[in-house]
């Protein structure tokens, strides 16, 4: 009974240790910088996947527009880096030196007002988290207060992703258009393209990811986490227990957006550009599959799911490019039909009993992870 009260159970502590060991020690030690940079890129998607565990897995709110927040975070960071790269000296061959090259190509003669604040690094850092959260708040408040949920929420977030993509591509003078914001070089004078910088960025990214895991775990362990599970299951019951349900959904959605945005900003730093192709529907839905593969209720699972799917994507698309889409499609179907609890479910069925014995836990943890067969029904009910 005390299990829900302590911050981390022994199981979870072990989980955290394993994830940390994997991304902080094992992976950096075993692959070269090229592969490590790739893994760093994948891990930025894990931020999104963890956000989806909170709002979809636990709260039953399926957003098909997480790419929007990933993209907004990424664009904020890219705007700062682009301004840093566009000093008057560096751009002196332009008709208007000192503004980003794509603006010059589009006959802009001065920096648009909304770019101005991104000269400031502290502002950028705040904006990366605040802007997407604010946007999520507006969407969430409008929809959850009117009790739009389930399928409708999914379709509307998907439409928002589509709108934003068209807008970014259409307003290329302000956004860089379909090419995105490219050719980012330095962060506060530090060249982010060198191998050493990539190592540093990898570890910063990994550190942030672990922080986000811990934060997500804290939310999940709090009463708020249990409330999310409760309202996915019986929304009316929560409402008639005196809770303003919409506020909790808005919070989960905003938190997921903030996590995604951090991932987006780290993506920009590690990959060196940001483009509208991460904002649209396709990446947004792909990010949902990372969560589903990991087991939609499992925070650690989200990390492993992301790594596994992306690893498979890279490997398959190198060896059998033609077959990759078949594989990905089949994966979508399989995690729905065959493994609704994803990797976490497999772990619970096959590995956990052994681990428990080793740890000396008497019986399978009865804390907050529901029995595996209970998940689909619960999710279904939440969606109805």
């Amino acid at each position: 009974m005390t299990s829900g009260n302590s911050f981390l159970t022994r199981q979870e502590l072990l989980g955290l240790a394993v994830v940390s060991l994997l991304i902080l020690v094992v992976l950096p030690a075993s692959v070269d910088i090229f592969r490590l940079n790739l893994i760093g890129k994948y891990l930025t998607y894990a931020f999104v996947a963890i956000g989806l565990v909170l709002c979809w897995g636990m709260g039953g709110i399926l957003s098909l527009g997480q790419g929007v927040f990933f993209g907004l975070g990424g664009y904020c960071m890219a705007m700062f880096l682009k301004l840093e790269a566009s000093t008057p000296e560096a751009t002196k061959i332009q008709s208007t030196p000192g503004i980003p090259d794509f603006m010059d190509w589009n006959q802009l003669t001065e920096l648009p007002w909304f770019w101005e604040p991104f000269h400031s690094f502290p502002f950028t850092l705040v904006a990366i988290v605040a802007l997407p959260s604010l946007f999520a708040f507006v969407i969430g408040a409008a929809m959850f207060k009117r009790r739009v949920g389930g399928v409708y929420f999914a379709i509307i977030t998907q439409a928002i992703a589509a709108i934003l993509t068209i807008l970014i591509i259409g307003q290329q003078g302000y956004t860089g258009g379909v090419n995105g914001i490219t050719d980012l070089r330095t962060l506060l004078g530090w060249d982010i393209r060198t191998d050493s910088a990539k190592y540093v960025l990898y570890f910063v990214n990994a550190g942030l990811l672990i922080a986000v895991i811990v934060a997500a775990q804290a939310v999940r362990k709090s009463k708020l986490g249990r409330l999310l599970v409760a309202l996915r299951d019986k929304e009316d019951r929560v409402r008639f227990s005196g809770y303003d349900v919409a506020n909790f959904k808005i919070f989960a959605f905003c938190l997921a957006a903030a996590f995604s945005a951090i991932g987006g900003a780290m993506f920009t730093l590690q990959v060196g550009f940001m483009s509208p192709s991460f904002v649209g529907i396709v990446p947004s839905i792909e990010m949902v599959i990372y969560t589903a593969v990991g087991g939609r209720l499992s925070i650690f699972g989200a990390v492993y799911g992301t790594l596994l799917v992306n690893w498979a994507k890279t490997t398959f698309s190198e060896t059998f490019p033609e077959l990759w889409l078949f594989g990905l499609g089949a994966l979508f179907i399989a995690v729905v039909l065959v493994f609704p609890n994803g990797l976490a479910g497999l772990y619970r069925s096959y590995l956990q009993p052994h681990v428990d014995r080793l740890l000396g836990v008497k019986k399978p943890a009865d804390d907050d992870e529901p029995a595996s067969d209970a998940v689909p029904e619960a999710a279904a009910r939440a969606a109805e």
């Binding site: 379709i155 439409a159 709108i163 068209i166 979508f332 999710a379 969606a383």
Partner: protein, 308 residues
């Protein structure tokens, strides 16, 4: 922007623009009807809807090749044969998908979304492997091409007329199917109360399969008709998915009439805005308006106030 034109020119243009809006309306209705049945009536989120449409388009492509090679004399009417075949091909695939996938997921609508997304990826790659990555050109019988000049400025595109009549026929057909036929009654019964419908002797599994198959079949006919105005390629189906879902949701998911009303509203709004603004901005504004209205009125245009 109108100062340079005479009243008669302006009149003609507005007539033409109105007609363009009607064509867009017909296109939207064709896209959305199948989904309105599947999503609105059955509650299944079929993200592979666009791929079922493209299957119809490919069937039309095969038909056009077949007729031009073996039955050139009958090429003029191949399009009708193609549409019927498209209906059955997409419908058969739909029945198969329902059997293999959807029927396990009726209680988990969000999961149908993921599973059918996976299905759409598989279908896209299948089309690419079979028909190649490039778009295929579907040649049309000559009577479907060209236009019918009414005045100097007003020319009525024949394929536009064709799409409009087809839409009308299909809409009427769907109306009879859903509200006048036995299957329609059974479908609605199953939707409202699965257990009870089963208890009174309706074969719910069969009804589900037929309904899903018919929805997919209509998508196939739509895809077949779209070869007249759009492109046929492995990924062309993805272009339709956002618009289609918005139309159905905007209309109030459970109402077929709502779907038609919403297609009308959205198409008129978009075609009017396209005339005054650039295409991209018109599209953004239309979508934003629809999403905005949906946020204020989530139940859509038409919905029954029901007693919970």
């Amino acid at each position: 922007m109108f100062a340079d034109y005479s009243w008669s020119e302006l009149g003609s243009i507005f007539a033409m623009q109105g007609f363009a809006g009607l064509i867009l309306f017909s296109v939207f209705v064709l896209m959305a009807l199948g989904l309105a049945i599947i999503f609105g009536q059955m509650g299944v989120i079929n993200m592979a809807h666009g791929e079922f449409m493209i299957l119809g388009a490919y069937v039309t492509y095969l038909c056009s090749n077949f007729f031009s090679t073996y039955l050139p004399a009958l090429f003029g009417i191949y399009f009708f044969v193609a549409m019927i075949l498209a209906f059955f091909a997409s419908g058969a695939l739909g029945a198969l998908v329902e059997w293999g996938l959807i029927r396990h997921l009726y209680k988990r609508p969000l999961d149908t979304l993921l599973a059918t997304w996976g299905l759409s990826l598989i279908l896209q790659q299948a089309y690419r492997s079979i028909f190649g990555a490039r778009e295929v050109g579907v040649s049309l019988p000559s009577w479907l091409l060209g236009s019918w000049p009414l005045t100097d400025l007003i020319e009525i595109p024949i394929n536009g007329l064709f799409v409009m009549s087809l839409t009308f026929l299909i809409a009427v057909g769907v109306y009879f199917l859903m509200f006048r036929s036995r299957l329609g009654m059974q479908t609605r019964a199953v939707v409202q109360n699965r257990v009870m419908a089963g208890a009174v002797g309706i074969n719910t599994e069969r009804v589900d399969r037929m309904t899903f198959a018919i929805g997919c079949g209509i998508a196939g006919v739509a895809g077949s008709a779209f070869t007249m105005i759009g492109s046929t390629g492995p990924t062309a189906g993805q272009l339709y998915i956002v618009d289609t879902f918005l139309i159905v949701v905007f209309g109030g998911a459970a109402s077929l009439l709502g779907t038609i009303a919403s297609a009308f509203t959205i198409s008129q709004a978009q075609s009017t805005m396209e005339f005054f603004l650039s295409g991209s901005m018109a599209k953004v504004l239309t979508l934003l308006t629809v999403v905005g209205i949906l946020m204020l009125r989530p139940e859509g245009l038409f919905s029954l106030k029901i007693r919970r």
